[in-house]
């Protein structure tokens, strides 16, 4: 699913967290959004996902105007996301967390009889195994370690079988092994799934994304292939040559 924003502006009082940002991500494209802290990366994802109403500008998902749609409608169009701060069901087990995501995707919430749902149970087991967290199935989400929480965060988004996925720093604080698993999981996504990833880990960014958008102080300062972005004078200024 194609994801695009045009003239996107989000103001918090006098501060413009995003200032007329344009973004065009084609269906199946893997796009990274980078920039220093406070550049507006998370704001951009929140506006696209519908958690935040933009002050100006519009958002299109799969060619459809989604500017006024609530977050849950955008999710039903096929938009999935992860959050910068893990957003889990703390008092439920890891398996129950994933089951909720699968059930939401299949829109099975309006069933009032507790029948056993074998296909759902099987899918949850498959997903936990693929994510390398099968051994944690019965652990309460609140009792997970930091890396395990980040992995579950990604698994919840994947379980919705999204056609476009917004990832907010999925690698932050992961150990070497956890990073590899997560990169494999994301690399194994079907080719037609659009990915927009906000990430500070530049190795992960270059491993996943073919195109990079750079934000600084709410303004888009560069947009292009890794080579083009590296050569950009303003990007070098912002990153002090560290890119």
């Amino acid at each position: 699913m194609e994801v695009s924003a045009s003239g996107l502006t989000v103001r918090f009082g006098a501060l413009a967290a995003l200032n007329h940002v344009d973004l065009e991500v084609a269906a199946g494209e893997r796009r990274a959004v980078i920039g220093p802290n406070g550049a507006g990366k998370t704001t951009l994802l929140n506006a696209i996902a519908g958690e935040l109403r933009p002050t100006e500008g519009s958002i299109r998902l799969g060619g459809r105007d989604a500017t006024r749609l609530p977050a849950w409608r955008r999710a039903r169009l096929g938009l999935g996301r992860t959050f910068q701060r893990s957003t889990l069901f703390s008092r439920l087990t890891v398996a129950e967390n994933v089951a909720l995501a699968v059930r939401a995707r299949d829109r099975k919430g309006w069933r009032f009889w507790p029948l056993r749902d074998r296909p759902l149970e099987d899918e949850v087991a498959r997903r936990l195994a693929a994510g390398g967290i099968a051994h944690l199935a019965n652990r309460q989400a609140a009792r997970l370690g930091h890396g395990e929480r980040r992995i579950l965060e990604v698994e919840l988004a994947l379980a919705a079988s999204p056609s476009a996925l917004l990832l907010d720093e999925p690698m932050a604080g992961l150990s070497g092994d956890e990073r590899r698993t997560t990169l494999e999981r994301l690399g194994a996504l079907p080719d037609d799934v659009t990915v927009v990833i906000v990430e500070h880990d530049l190795d992960a960014v270059f491993a996943l994304a073919k195109r990079i958008t750079v934000l600084d102080h709410g303004v888009k300062i560069a947009d292009g292939t890794p080579t083009e972005v590296r050569a950009n004078a303003r990007v070098q200024e912002v990153y002090l040559g560290a890119i």
Binding site: A71, W72, R73, T87, L100, A101, R105, P114
Partner: protein, 286 residues
Amino acid sequence: MILGRLASARNAALLAVLGLGLASVPLWAPRFWIYVATQALIFAVFAMSLDLLLGYAGLPSLGHAAFYGVGAYACALLALRQVDGLFPLLLVGGAAAAIVAIPIGALSLRTSGVYFLMLTLAFAQMLWEISLYERGAFFVLCLVVAVLTFAVLQILARSPFGKTLEGIRENETRMRALGVPTFRYRLAAFVVAAAIAGVAGSLAAMSNGYATPDLLYWTASGFGLVAVVVGGTRSLIGPVLGAFVVLVAQLGLSTYLDRWELILGALFIAFVLFVPGGLVGLVRRT
């Protein structure tokens, strides 16, 4: 299969003892205690409906007594018009509460301090009252309603609908991001809880022979919350135990103390601080 998943063996034993004990009350208890147990059962139905909101959906409501009151008034008004039969009255009480709950829930999903006109409806000359005056028979009706409420809520809590409510309680942002229209689910839970509270209100009106604004006053919701917290949220059986504790405390203490609510308040705070799982949590831990 559902029974197997209902609860552990201990819970099942607890339920069986409680159910049999209650069912035998009319056989041996003096009239006064049958009356007390009847009031406690009515209150238990109300408390269980509040547990659906507070425990399962994570919606603490101080306005829940409004629906209890609406049920009571609807039942009383209908009885004034000489409508005969217990089940129509109970259904109307529940339906009236559900209908009122839709706009209230849609506006706020939380009401507090609702109370209506000073209005007391005496309905002493009811046709059906003759049969109801058999306290034992009315007690059995209340017990049947309480058991049905328990079963319905137990099933609901374990259904995909109940799981979805649980997810919304744990993390509404994530549920929205997964494509769940969280508001609609919360409203549905609100209306179901209101309908059950309305049925409890109808029972209260039948039992007392009148409906008063007290039923809608926020303290009635407050007592409900005390029952749920003291008994243990998210258990359904907890609120039933809590209802009996609150009612017996009320009867026992109000004879000696004017401000018996203070004692109940202290009990509530003690449970919040030291026994977060309530009475049911204590049983589970041992």
